[in-house]
Symmetry: C2
Subunit: 597 residues, 2 copies
């Protein structure tokens, strides 16, 4: 990074802090940045000067430069002087510039600072709400600066990769048509058509498909999307996704391209070279082996189905489960050395997750099991468990007898609880493929598991055997988090109509919700496929952050509040009137009881 | 562009249309795309196959491939066969692939098309509303495809240039705080805080300044912005700007960076190498010489002030104007050879533009003027006019005597009318600098000419001589269009407070509108400066389009309607109730009388 000139000839700086090294010793340098960690030693002041590049030590003698007496933390200053080696024994090997210091003989205070509400330092942990209120100070922390830089580099790596492959970046509109049932749409009242509303897009889905109809061959966009969710876990009202779509394209093309994109990002941010292709796992296999459709495969503890070993069991609980169409499954949690009460805790957790119970057993020398259940099991059954779960003496084996769905859910969660590594050093990417067309919902009914433009593998199967029908849908999973999903789309309007029909969307309803889109499909739509990757989540994992808020420059709280600006806020009723709307009776923007961040 | 594989092994194509050339003769090739311009000749069918790369001729014999009989315009197909030279005399030199054709012996119809509402062809001009209703077909036209591609290339050129210079791409929020007087804010009702609203950003201005406070050294973003304007001329509710900002930075740094960005874009789109630095013109000079702050300098016809020559004039009209503090100005429109009625037309136009009158004169051999006014002018005055305007015999000279503002407005417009070139082949970039702090408004009052965070050159001058005070604000102008504007910002909260004061914004009001922002300035804000460039307008000029709608993938009409999706639309009252709002009495979303697109 080179020096930057101010208007006229007066530059604020001639170098960045990180430029200083032993090679600079003897040069006169001017730096600009912020005062950090000031301390006095024998009447001389030392402080770190922080700028966007890093930190360097500055020494200044207030006898020589009286203005230095006024310096406080986070003052924005410009200093000039010779670079010199630090005295013997005073070098700081933890700092890139730790061998040198700037002996400032000139000082300009560009702007003072009030006392800061928290120390600008990665070591000090401030309350998150305070950090968000003073986000402009929080962003000065090296960790946050690093996250901003990583995000910018990641976006550049994505764009470079896709640009080289001939993808066009196309901006789709963000004031779009609301779908009548789009309960999660955020709305924007129209002033020129009072009483009508635009919606903010939950994704560019339909517009990117229209681009395919329009002859765009390969599309991408790093797109802002909006979803008015109740804030569960780690969501934001606005989020960013890398959105791609291609015509005359299929799943393998999507995978190959996404793998190249992910590889470029990981290379840029982690310096690690991935080796595509990523492994692929069917949805069914993922659920069986890991109890989830987004398995964390950085560790083993795979789940096995033991049902076959119990077909003739005398153990009532197991027999009843199998008779009801259920399963016996389990995994080997390894040498956990748990106390009785820790094991009870696991059982409680299993029940919270929906299991009727949890069977725990420790494999013993000589092929036996130490377990309250041991006495109900035949020798053959005990041997089968130990063999199928590869139990070594001392291994903790966990079993659930329940419906397939509950067994998967419970064992999948316990597996994560017992085996999941804390850190994100390893990156295990995985494609989950062959998703079902429908998910089973509470009460045994069926609901479409993807958006209704997803192509089924087989229409007849979808109609006749909906519970087992497979869609051309796929997810990308990293370390147990879903990074994104995609599908081959329906390009035939008649197939689309039939799919609506099977999904239980009437012709009237589909016309009302998607009529304008179905119309477009009637004009020579090419086969097409695509994907959307959640940028916030991807970055959080790569930066080893536990919340996406750490990689979003100005996030909101879990309840959608920005503590820095106070938004959302009340609006002048006159302005609302111009938009043709008003607050409903009883709604009070200043109501202190309403949900707050 | 290489071939793309379908799931499994079946590719839809092995090449793009534009890949075919004489070098491909004899190869078996499979192409995928759309049927255009089908014609029959002696029982054999010829058509152009259009894909994203271009067009190539396909020949198919329905006797051999019966399915070809069903082909209609815009069917989406895959065809395969050998490439061969066109018969002697049948080559099409206007077409890149015009020497060859694909002799298809295999055909797959991927998707049929209903009859299209307009021909997909640059030569056919369809009604714009129809084009927008079927935008997905409109985008198949080569001209629109070219515009999409240009936009993507331009964005890449911007990003590459800024990335190489160490700029970080940072995403600022789009659900932000509404300012109480933000009448042009588009609003988004909050569901979790019913009765409160977010606003969509008119620009990332305050957030990018906060990034500077936060220690980001160089920022950029290609940002979606929103302004709820009454649609004058060529605006959209949502638009895109290249937004940049830098800390420890000033005007010259901004100019040098923007020049590099613009140069990269022009190089990529036009293949022309610009030679920065761009000329700079003060606001005062621009107004004097071109009658506007966004001069088109591709042609001369500069305006001269002739007032000094008339200080002792006997011509009553001129004398009275000068006595009232007005000016006499004019320009040489060259050899226009206008009829009497054409000249009357000019005079009428001048009056429409606000002038009391227009004096036209034609320079004659021997230093005289042919004009109805000639008899009122002294020999000295006549000679001065001819000399100052460099009048050659036959040149049309146009003069206005009026206030400086009216003279500038009228002569500036007439200059454009008479001299402006139709086409955009030449690109004349220009910086306009030294903008006034205040603009004079209707009735002689003053209003701030830029946003209130713009640094004045001199606070005392701003307070004491507001009419002539200059701000550190600048515009980039291309061919008479303002491409964008920027400024050095205020970084001292006390100066900011003082500027609010001079602008007539009370402490209460500034606290209410910008309090959260002023607070941030108190924590060591670095000096900073920036710019925002209108991407839509820039692209339209580079692509020689007269409307920005031609370079926006899915624009809305002048009244904010999307004829393709029908948005904005009515919304279920239940959904509104969830947001705590309802339509005002008398507002009816289905009212057929309301303003429509």
């Amino acid at each position: 990074m080179g020096p930057t000139a101010l208007e006229g000839d007066q530059p604020y700086r001639t170098a960045y802090a990180a430029d200083l090294s032993e090679a600079s010793v003897g040069e006169r340098i001017r730096l600009a940045g912020w005062v950090a960690r000031r301390r006095d030693q024998g009447g001389v002041y030392f402080f770190d000067l922080r700028d966007a590049s890093g930190v360097v030590q500055v020494v200044i003698d207030p006898a020589e430069v009286p203005a230095a007496r006024d310096l406080r933390a986070e003052y924005c200053i410009s200093v000039e002087g010779p670079v010199r080696l630090r005295p013997a024994g005073m070098a700081n090997p933890d700092l890139a510039t730790g061998a040198v210091e700037l002996a400032a003989d000139q000082l300009g205070v560009l702007s003072r600072s009030e006392p800061v509400p928290f120390i600008i330092d990665d070591r000090a942990e401030a309350d998150e709400r305070l950090r968000l209120e003073y986000r402009y100070l929080d962003l000065r922390r090296p960790r946050m600066a690093k996250n901003l830089r990583a995000r910018s580099l990641a976006a550049a790596a994505m764009r470079d990769t896709l640009g080289r492959r001939g993808f066009l970046e196309v901006e789709t509109p963000t004031l779009i048509r609301s779908t009548p049932e789009g309960a999660r749409d955020m709305l924007v009242p129209s002033r020129l058509r009072r009483g009508d509303f635009y919606a903010l897009p939950q994704s560019p889905q339909l517009f990117k498909q229209l681009l395919m109809v329009g002859g765009v061959d390969r599309y991408y966009q790093i797109a802002r999307c909006y979803r008015d969710e109740d804030f569960r876990s780690d969501r934001q009202l606005e989020f960013t996704q890398l959105d791609i779509e291609g015509a005359f394209w299929g799943r393998d093309g999507v995978f190959e391209t996404l793998e190249a994109v992910v590889q470029a990002v990981v290379e840029r941010l982690r310096g690690v070279t991935l080796e595509p292709p990523f492994p692929r796992l069917t949805y069914a296999e993922a659920l069986l082996r890991y109890g989830t459709d987004k398995p964390d495969v950085r560790f083993g503890m795979e789940i096995s189905d033991l049902s076959d070993a119990f077909l003739k069991t005398k153990f009532r609980a197991f027999a009843a489960t199998l008779e009801d169409g259920g399963v016996i499954r389990g995994f080997n949690a390894g040498k956990q050395e748990m106390s009785r009460s820790q094991l009870d805790g696991l059982a409680t957790r299993a029940k919270e997750l929906g299991a009727k119970g949890l069977i725990s057993a420790v494999a013993e020398e000589g092929g036996t099991l130490r377990s309250q259940t041991a006495k109900h099991l035949s020798e053959f059954e005990t041997a089968a468990i130990i063999e199928d779960l590869k139990g070594q003496p001392g291994d903790l084996l966990l079993l659930v007898a329940d419906t397939a769905a509950v067994a998967a859910q419970v064992l999948g969660q316990l597996r994560l609880q017992l085996g999941r590594p804390d850190r994100h050093d390893d990156l295990s990417f995985l494609w989950v493929i062959d998703f079902p067309v429908f998910d089973e919902v509470e009460g045994g009914g069926l609901a479409p598991s993807h958006h209704p433009f997803t192509a089924p593998v087989d229409l007849v199967e979808m109609r006749e055997r909906p519970r087992t029908a497979i869609a051309k849908a796929y997810d990308l999973v990293l370390n147990g988090s879903e990074l994104g999903s995609g599908s081959v789309r329906i390009h035939d309007p008649e197939v689309q109509q039939e799919v609506f029909d099977i999904l239980g969307i009437s012709a009237d309803e589909s016309e009302r919700r998607f009529g304008w889109f179905i119309k477009a499909l009637r004009y020579g739509t090419p086969p097409h496929a695509g994907f959307a990757l959640g940028v916030d989540r991807f970055l959080a994992i790569l930066q080893q952050e536990t919340s996406i808020r750490e990689v979003i420059p100005f996030p909101k709280t879990q309840t959608g509040i920005d503590p820095m600006t106070g938004s959302p806020t009340a609006v002048d009723p006159v302005q609302l009137a111009e938009l043709g709307i008003e607050l409903r009776a009883g709604v009070d923007a200043d109501d202190p009881d309403r949900e707050d961040g």
